[in-house]
Every structure is written in C-alpha cells, then in structure tokens.
C-alpha cells in the first residue's frame, strides 16, 4: 500500500503517465479512493492530463500557425550557418 506522502512525492516529481504501468495503476487507485489526499492529488493529476493533451494540441497547431520567422532573420541565419563548420 502506498502512503499519501509517497503518492504526493511521486506526483511532485513529474507526470505519472511516464511511470511503469503498475506504479501508475497503484497511484491512480490510491488517488481515486483516498479521502485524505484524493481531493488535492486528483487536481494535480488532472493538470498532468491537461498539459499532456495541451502539448499535443500545441504541436499540431505549430505546423499551421500564422507566425513566421521574419525574412531578414531567415537570410541572416542562412548566412551564419553557411559560415559555420561542423565541430568534432
């Protein structure tokens, strides 16, 4: 059995979806049922879920956004890159 502290620590460390399936399941179960830390940790989990979906939506949007690298910068960058040789 996980303690509330262990659950909170694990969620503080990073996205629980990146944990191995069993740890993820244990966390999910604890948070779903715990009357002590559930209220708080459900919100933490919801934000990880939100951000994961947000990043996916953001990346899809990056491909067709209207903002473009300014032309002057583009030209300058190309010149700079041409003058740069690969390191070792």
């Amino acid at each position: 059995m996980l303690t509330c502290k262990q659950v909170s620590r694990a969620l503080e460390r990073g996205d629980y979806a990146k944990l191995p399936p069993l740890s993820r399941l244990a966390l999910r179960l604890h948070v779903a049922m715990c009357v002590v830390c559930g209220g708080y940790n459900r919100q933490v989990m919801a934000f990880y879920d939100a951000v994961r979906a947000f990043l996916k939506a953001e990346d899809a949007d990056l491909g067709n956004a209207r903002v473009r690298l300014p032309d002057a910068t583009r030209v300058r960058l190309k010149e700079t890159l041409r003058g740069t040789s690969p390191g070792r």
Partner: protein, 189 residues
C-alpha cells in the same frame, strides 16, 4: 525502422525555422529572444551534427536542442529580474497545512468536466490565454515544470526558491489556472 535520408543544414532554416521560432515564441513571449534561441539552436546543431543518430525526425532533434536553449534564456531572464513570491510562505505557515499537509488542501470540484473539455480545440486556446495571464513567477514555474519537463531541483535553482516554496507556487498556479479556465470556459458555453 530504417534510417531515412535527412535534409542537409542548408535547408534547415526553410524547413524548420518557422516551427522552431513559433515554439520559442510560445515559451519566451519575446520575438527577439525567440530569434536568438532559434539561431543558437541551429548553430549548436550544425556543430553537433554527428551527434544526430538519424533515428528520429531531425525536426524533433532540433526541437530538443531548442528546448535547452529556451531554459537557458529563462534562467538568464530570471537572474536579471529576480522575483519573489511572498504569498507562498503564507500557505506553508498556516496552521492547517503544518498540521496535516496536503490533506488540508481541498480544492473545490471542477465546475465543468475537464476531460470532456480536453476534446475540444477551443479549450486549448483558453488554456493558453489563462497560462499567459498567470503572474510571474508562477507562469515561469509552471512552464518549466509542466511544459518543459524540468526537475524540481533544477527549477528551484533557476528561480532561487526552496522546494517548499516551489510546491506552493505550483499549487497556486494550478488554482489560478483552474479559476481562469472555469470563468472563460463557462462564459463561452
């Protein structure tokens, strides 16, 4: 998976310049800084070409470099403009938090079903605008932790705050975001 032919550096600017610039702009909010980050990315990539193993799309390799450059820029910006969060200490010092930790924190239930909202494209525009409205240093803390996947130790170093303080900042960022999302998402419906 077999290695596929990758574009040469001569074509990088045309192929990935816009993508990387948009990404940098979303995180850094400042066009000049975003351009700098893109330039640094391309330079580092040209110099480190032989470290690219060809197994992923070069776009994602470049984005990986860019993300490091973005964190560097945030680190620099924070150092120039030191921010302090005094409200955070209040929560940590409160009797209930000292007594029972996170059990003392009972966020109100969501006023809408977040998981259903996640399926809607418009929700992410609102999410973005709420994120941009977060005051500093909460926006930076949330960006580093949640969007750029930095470790808490690293973020504490960057922001010059204690782990407890970062914890409260993240909690406040979530609460403010939630309030903002509820207001904007409900208004739209």
């Amino acid at each position: 998976m077999t290695d596929k032919p990758q574009p040469s550096p001569d074509d990088w600017v045309d192929l990935y310049g816009d993508y990387l610039y948009r990404y940098a702009l979303l995180r850094l909010k400042n066009p000049a800084t975003a351009e700098d980050a893109v330039q640094e990315t391309f330079l580092a990539a040209v110099k480190g070409q032989d470290r690219f193993d060809g197994r992923t799309d070069i776009k994602f390799w470049l984005r990986g470099i860019l993300r490091n450059k973005i964190v560097d820029h945030i680190r620099k910006a924070v150092r120039e403009d030191v921010v302090e969060d005094t409200e955070a200490q209040g929560i940590l010092d409160s009797f209930w938090f000292k007594h029972s930790g996170v059990a003392a924190i009972r966020p109100a239930p969501w006023q809408f079903d977040p998981y259903r909202a996640f399926e809607k494209t418009e929700f992410w525009e609102i999410f973005r605008s709420c994120l941009d409205q977060l005051r500093e240093p909460l926006r930076t803390a949330f960006t580093l932790k949640m969007l750029e996947d930095q470790s808490s130790e690293e973020i504490c170093k960057i922001l010059g705050v204690s782990p407890n303080n970062l914890w409260v900042m993240m909690h406040r960022a979530r609460s403010l975001l939630k309030t903002c999302l509820e207001k904007k998402w409900a208004k739209r419906a």
